[in-house]
Symmetry: C2
Subunit: 414 residues, 2 copies
């Protein structure tokens, strides 16, 4: 894409009151626009990155057997009363609205009730199970405070997968698999080495549930690491001697390393809670009615986008990992637009995504904006670079630049 | 995809009270689930088709120079008060909600105000213009009645593009181009020959605006066709002698052919209405402040999905055009799963999207469900077809079947 055509431009400052690093950088670099606290619009660069994150998640959910669907924001009262979750005393972050005729509606903050109700139409026999359905969709939570930028949204993107199994055993097998699938997603996002499978208190159907926590000073959670090698931690809120005993941890509670962390995912065994509420049952092989065993698996692409920024920045701006960068290459031409156009065309033909800064502005401004936007590979073509033998190539996370002949450069990115 | 893994199954009946043909068929075939009137969840087959429609629109918007963004559902009162559109007396289909602190919010039914406000950050000079931004996103309209299935949603998908130009002349050029871009989209969706560029009453900034109307008995509009060759019509609500004179139509008002039609798109010249409300201006080449000239261009992927069904069905079910079918091929095996697996693998390797009905159920049930789902190419492999020399190939919209040797079949789909 030609940067002269991109409507966003770097901004000197983030809006007053925006305290989170991720939102400050993403706003200044033109990735997002803040509509209100916890509510962000995605601009061209931001949507590209968000889509890359979503696509990685989608690929892994598909590989795990997930079938993608898209449920609705508008939720009716009757459905949610079946589990008691309509009440504002039970769920304190509903946004509610109503139809013209006065029928009350809520804006979906999760979809267990909605999907259990849908599946009533499709589950009858043991032959219909197990299966897994997921969506990547906008969710709403009426947070009293929203000061963590993209990491705690009032309106945000969520990937939520729901599993429907015949038995607890069948569920457990998938649940274990999802632990690995989740870690694979975080690895692909470049945060695998900072992310821990984190024990937290379970619900009615399992003693423990699991979160995924990524170590970061920007985190709102605190974890205690119990196994560095296996990458297992405990949410500090749930750290008791009993838990340590259950997981055979021999170290004293007070001696565990503690870290601030960002919750980047959670997986729950729901058991029969929702299937009982909606009478979601199947006939087993002997013709007996059995309740479906459910699980839910959440992960927010927009929160992950915020987390990636928190983990990857310096004083100059964002440093995107290759997998989620809005473009692979930032090509900067300094009065050499003709040669740059050739490189731009050839890289584009090879399928390399290039943002070409073709604008007639100073070199300093171009470099500063490139550092702020944070595309991993910067190519500079100038009279100086051509005299030196080609194009200057510099990684965003390195101070080392090298001059490469144009042919070599094209080879490198193919 | 293996149909045995697909969680949806054909249903005998649509929910009571669902009167529209498109929703009846889409529900029965498992494409969508009705949450409430005008509010549908998209199930695997439905999301595939919706995404194909959205992708066609996206390709054409990108080709026209559009930059994709994603704005928010939650809209603040202050922004919309600037144009007077916050008032429920001015806009009668708002869904409204509020933050914990009592701040009133609305759910976006369109985004002119939101985008004009965003662009305040990015438009300063004539060098920044023109540009075009669009989104494909969920919109909300609190319709008193919603009986047209996917064609009139309370929650629905919208592609809305906004143009920002220096002058009326620059705007007019893009506006004319968009007439062609829109017709190209409808052609790709297989409804080009039934769609008319339709004159309707203009706003403050142009005498006429334009809708795109597709002739269908399911339509809620009525058009009068004034030029069959150039495919131009007038919305009957706006049919006056003056309009006929302006467009040099010599035929009597009463003699024009009238047709029921579905509004599948609309394009507006907004002039300075929103730029004045938000003080969205730029410095021209002589350093003078000028207001930005805006346009907006709407088209709903979900309404189009409903319209495609209204235009393409028979007593047995849906007949998808190739471009938007959830799969290109419906492979049906009757006790020949081994051979079918080979064909499935080979077609998939060639990139052909195949739904393979590998279930152990009767032939009649398989055929009926295939006709209901409406995938354009049906392949049947059975002992009978193999004896006859290969695989039976039948188009959904034809009664003629042919037997093709497997090699020929694979050649045909590559």
């Amino acid at each position: 894409m030609l940067q002269s055509k991109l409507f966003t431009k770097a901004q000197k400052q983030a809006p007053a009151g925006e305290v989170s690093l991720n939102a400050q950088l993403l706003i200044r670099a033109g990735f997002v626009h803040k509509e209100m606290a916890g509510v962000y619009s995605y601009l061209p660069l931001g949507l590209r990155t968000l889509n890359k994150i979503s696509d990685i998640i989608r690929q892994e959910m598909d590989a795990a057997g997930g079938q993608e669907i898209f449920m609705t924001v508008l939720q009716d009262r009757e459905t949610w009363e079946k589990t008691g979750r309509w009440s504002d005393e039970v769920v304190d972050n509903w946004f509610k609205t109503e139809l013209k005729n006065g029928t009350q509606l809520g804006l979906g903050f999760t979809h267990e009730e909605a999907i259990a109700k849908i599946m009533k139409n499709y589950v009858a026999s043991y032959k219909d199970l197990p299966f897994y359905a997921y969506q990547i969709q906008t969710k709403f939570r009426n947070e009293a405070r929203a000061k963590a930028g993209l990491m705690r949204g009032r309106e945000f993107f969520m990937k939520d997968l729901y599993s429907f199994s015949k038995t607890k055993e069948e569920h457990d097998e998938f649940y274990e698999k999802m632990k690995e699938v989740y870690m694979k997603v975080f690895s692909r996002l470049g945060m695998g080495d900072k992310t821990y499978l984190t024990i937290s208190s379970g619900g009615s159907f399992s003693k423990y549930s699991y979160e995924f926590q990524t170590v970061s000073k920007a985190g709102e959670d605190m974890i205690a690491i119990i196994d560095e090698e296996k990458r297992i931690a405990i949410n500090k809120d749930d750290l008791t001697d009993e838990v340590l005993k259950d997981f055979a941890v021999k170290v004293d509670r007070d001696k565990l390393r503690e870290e601030k962390s960002i919750e980047v995912g959670d997986i729950y065994s729901l058991g029969y809670k929702y299937s009982e509420a909606f009478n979601l049952k199947y006939k087993d092989e002997s013709g007996q009615d059995q309740m479906v065993y459910m699980g839910s698996y959440g992960m927010s692409p927009s929160r992950l986008m915020g987390a990636v920024v928190e983990l990857n920045s310096d004083a100059k701006g964002i440093i995107w990992p290759e997998a989620v960068a809005p473009f692979a290459v930032h090509l900067i031409s300094l009065d050499q637009n003709e040669k740059a156009l050739e490189i731009y065309k050839q890289l584009s033909q090879k399928g390399v995504e290039v943002l070409w800064d073709d604008r007639q502005i100073g070199a300093g401004e171009k470099f500063a904006e490139a550092d702020l936007i944070g595309i991993p590979n910067r190519m500079v073509i100038s009279a100086k670079s051509l005299t030196a033998g080609g194009v200057e190539l510099k990684k965003r996370d390195s101070d080392q630049a090298e001059i490469l002949p144009i042919e070599k450069l094209l080879e490198k990115f193919s």
